[in-house]
Amino acid sequence: MSARAAPGGLGARAVAAWRRRWFPEASLADLAIARVLLAATVLYLNGSLRFFNVARAPAHTWEPIPLAAVLGMTQPDAATVALLLEATRWSLIAAALGLCTNAALLCAFVLQLVLEGLLNCFGKVTHSTIPLLHAMLFFALAPSGRAWSVDALLRRWWRARAGGASALTPPARSRFARWPFELLFLELAFYYFDAGLSKLTASGLAWADGATLQFSLVKHGGVVAAAIAPHLWLCALLSAAALVFELGFPLAIVVRRLRPYFLAAGVAFHLGNHVLLDLIFWPVLAVYPLVVPWSSLVAWWRGPGRRFALRRTPA
C-alpha cells in the first residue's frame, strides 16, 4: 500500500484496489443530501423529551460512564441541559444550511456526544443512537459542504470576483465524497453483526430455539405478540431469521449487490421488533437513507429503471 510500490506489483495492485474501494470519484450532491438528512434527523431526535430526565433523575441513580468520569462530568441542572441542546440545535442548523459546514458538524458531534453520554449515566446503555453519532463524525470529516451549501455559494462568489467565468462551475464530484457512505455501511454491518455475535456467545445456537423470543413476547404483550407467543416453532423461525440477518449483514460489505436486500430486511426487522416487542430503534433506521447513493439511484431511474417501469405499465 505504498505510493512507491513497483508498478504492476502486488503492492501497487493492492493500493489501486484500496483506492478504488475508498476513494473513487463520487457525487458531492450525495454528501449534501446526506448532510441535510443527518442534521434533520438529529434535530428531530433532540426535539423530543429524551434529555428531559437527565436533570430530573434522582441523584442516587447517577452512575457516570467512564467517559463522563474522565471528563469530570456531574449530573447537570436543567439550565445546562437546555444550553447544550440549544448549542447543538444551532450547530445542526448551520450544518444543514452548509454554513461553515465541517466546523458546524464537528461542533454538533461533540455536543451530541456529551448529551448522549449524559443520557447513559443512569445505568443503562442506549444503543440506538450510536450509528447516528458515528455518522456525524464521518460527515464532519468529509467535504460535506462542497455542494448545495452556503459555503459553496460563498466560494463561487469569491472565485467569480477573483477569477473568470470558469471559476463559476463548482466541482460536482470528488474522490473524498464516497468514503463516509462506505464507512457508515461498515458501521451498520458491525452493529448488527455484534448483536448477533453477542447472542451466540451468551447463549449459543439455543438462542434461536424460540424460548427466548417467547419470553420477550409474553413480557411485552400486545395483540400480535400474544398471537405468536404460544407457537414456539414460529418463535424459533423468527429468532433464526433475526440471527441470519444479523450475522449475515457483513456479507453486504463485500457483495454490494446484496446491500438493498439487507437494508430491506433491516427495515422489516426493525418494524417487526416495533410491532412485537414495542422496541423503537428508529435512529438506526434513520441511518439507512444516509448510506443510499441518491445520485446513482436517480441515474438508474432515468436509465434502466425507467425503461423497466415503462415496460411494466399496461398500455
Binding site: 505510493a3 475508498w22 441513580t61 455484534d194
Partner: protein
C-alpha cells in the same frame, strides 16, 4: 496515495479495529458497545416479570409512569427488577420525588405490583404480588 488518503485510511483501519475489539471482547462501556440486547438465553423455565408502581395522591390511586420519576422504562426496571423486595427501591425513589414536590402533590402511599407471567401452554396463570413502598424515612430497613 496522497497524505489525506493515508490519514483517512488510518481512520478506516482504526475504526474497523475498534469495531472488531468491541465485538470480540464484548465491551459494553458507552459509546463502545457490542450491542448485547436480548442476548441472554431465557429457557422455558424462566418466567417474565414486570413491575409497576401504584401511588396514592389524595383519594386517587395512580399508576406512575417512569418519566414521572425522572427515569425511562429500562432505568426503572434496573432499579426495581433486580430486588427481591422492589418496595425498598420504590420507596427511595418516591421519597426523593416527594421531597421535590409541594405538599399537596405528594404521594401518601404506594406499592409495587409485581406480575410474574406464566408461559403459554403451562396451564398456570400469572402471579401478582404487592410490595409496599415505605414513604417515611422511619419505615425503611
Amino acid at each position: 496515495m496522497t497524505r489525506r488518503e493515508w490519514l483517512l485510511s488510518a481512520l478506516f483501519v482504526a475504526f474497523v479495529g475498534l469495531k472488531v475489539v468491541e465485538g470480540v471482547l464484548a465491551i459494553e462501556s458507552w459509546p463502545l458497545s457490542h450491542v448485547p440486547m436480548f442476548a441472554q438465553y431465557q429457557g422455558l423455565d424462566r418466567l417474565p416479570v414486570t413491575d409497576s408502581i401504584h401511588a396514592r395522591r389524595g383519594d386517587a390511586w395512580l399508576v406512575l409512569r417512569p418519566w414521572q420519576l425522572g427515569l425511562n422504562q429500562a432505568e426503572l426496571n434496573r432499579q426495581l427488577l433486580g430486588d427481591p423486595d422492589p418496595g425498598v427501591p420504590c420507596g427511595t425513589l418516591l421519597r426523593e420525588l416527594n421531597a421535590r414536590r409541594r405538599p399537596f402533590l405528594r404521594f401518601t402511599a404506594a406499592y409495587v405490583e409485581r406480575r410474574t407471567y406464566a408461559r403459554p401452554h403451562t396451564g398456570e396463570s400469572d402471579l401478582v404480588e404487592r410490595f409496599p413502598c415505605p414513604l417515611a424515612a422511619e419505615d425503611t430497613r
